[in-house]
Amino acid sequence: METSFKLKILTPDGILFSDSARQVTARNSTGEFGVLPGHTVFASDIVSGKMDIISQTGENMSFEVGNGLISVEGEEVTIALDSGTKV
């Protein structure tokens, strides 16, 4: 089984992150959710707050994000956010 997926985080001002990752944790209107490799085809909204990523090398990364959405298809995860900064 795959241990990572391709993650792209996009904002109107450019690409915030584009690399392989092992895990994403973010919040949507009903609560916190996570995405791991091998996730089913999936789409959700994202509400502003904290978002965490574990990169392929095992490094933890945190982002302060605005509203947006996430889509998962195959091994490609795309997150579109109206704003975002790495913390």
Partner: protein, 278 residues
């Protein structure tokens, strides 16, 4: 024939105008380059939304219907994006001509940029002056789209169109009138596969994402329009600088000719005088 002094004044005035044109061209070029980078950063973000919208707009939802269903009614609104300042060639006039040529009648107009209201001499919807630059297009876009959306959802507006100059290339900007609400062509492009799992549920997802998408459409059009404006101004100022060069060349020629003529005339006088004394 104008006097030497008059010609000299003309040359110096054209030269100073040329300097202003050159400066404006330089500013417009820098801004144009900046907005082009902004468009390139915005594009992938917009595409990510479009892919999701293409997927969920195919699913029947109550919230989605409000955004997608064709509307009858004659409360059509035109949002017209023009520039605040002139000296940008045919940027504004070609757009205004396009609006006038159209058969469609709009019951109201919303002017973004001063030139539109100056030209059509109508009241703007919501009655306020709206201007924007490439620095605040997101805030202005959000403001406009929030207001428009609430008027639309309250059935005060039937269809919303935006008239603007679409950026094609540095020398070509195409005046365009696009229908933005209800959404059109949402099904275009590739969506996610149909067995997608949507959270929290399709209905609430659409409720959240469709207004965001409308805001995105407005912002992308604002960005497109401002890029066109800077491109148009760069081209117009480039032309103006070239014309100024032409005029300076012609007038300098005239200046030399006039000077030569007056010297010749003086010489003739002296020679004639000397002849008479003999």
């Amino acid at each position: 024939m104008p006097s030497l002094k008059e010609i000299r004044t003309k040359i110096s005035s054209v030269k100073s105008t040329k300097r202003i044109m050159q400066a404006m061209k330089m500013i417009a070029t820098v801004k144009y380059a900046k907005t082009q980078v902004m468009i390139n950063s915005f594009r992938p973000y917009y595409d990510a939304y479009q892919k999701i919208i293409a997927t969920v707009s195919k699913m029947p939802t109550k919230s989605g219907e409000k955004f997608l269903k064709k509307r009858e009614g004659d409360n059509d609104l035109l949002v017209l994006i023009s520039s605040d300042r002139g000296l940008c060639g045919s940027y504004n006039t070609s757009l205004f001509r396009k609006v006038e040529k159209e058969d469609a009648t709009y019951s109201a107009k919303l002017f973004v940029g001063k030139k539109g209201q100056d030209y059509f001499k109508e009241n703007s919807l919501y009655g306020e002056e709206i201007s924007f630059t490439e620095k605040n297009y997101k805030e202005v876009g959000r403001d406009i789209s929030d207001k428009l959306l609430s008027s639309y959802l309250n059935d005060e507006l039937s269809n919303i169109y935006i008239g603007y100059n679409h950026f094609v290339s540095a020398i070509v900007q195409e005046p365009k009138i696009a229908k933005v609400l209800p959404f059109e062509n949402t099904g275009e492009g590739e969506g996610l596969s149909a067995d997608v799992l949507i959270e929290p549920d399709v209905e609430s997802f659409v409720d959240i994402v469709f207004p965001q998408y409308f805001n995105l459409i407005v912002c992308s059009i604002l960005l497109d329009a401002i890029t066109s404006e800077h491109a148009a101004r760069t081209a117009a100022m480039d032309n103006a600088t070239k014309n100024a060069d032409e005029i300076i060349k012609e007038t300098t020629k005239l200046f030399n000719k006039t000077r030569q003529a007056s010297i010749t005339k003086e010489l003739m006088d002296i020679v004639n005088g000397a002849e008479a004394v003999k």
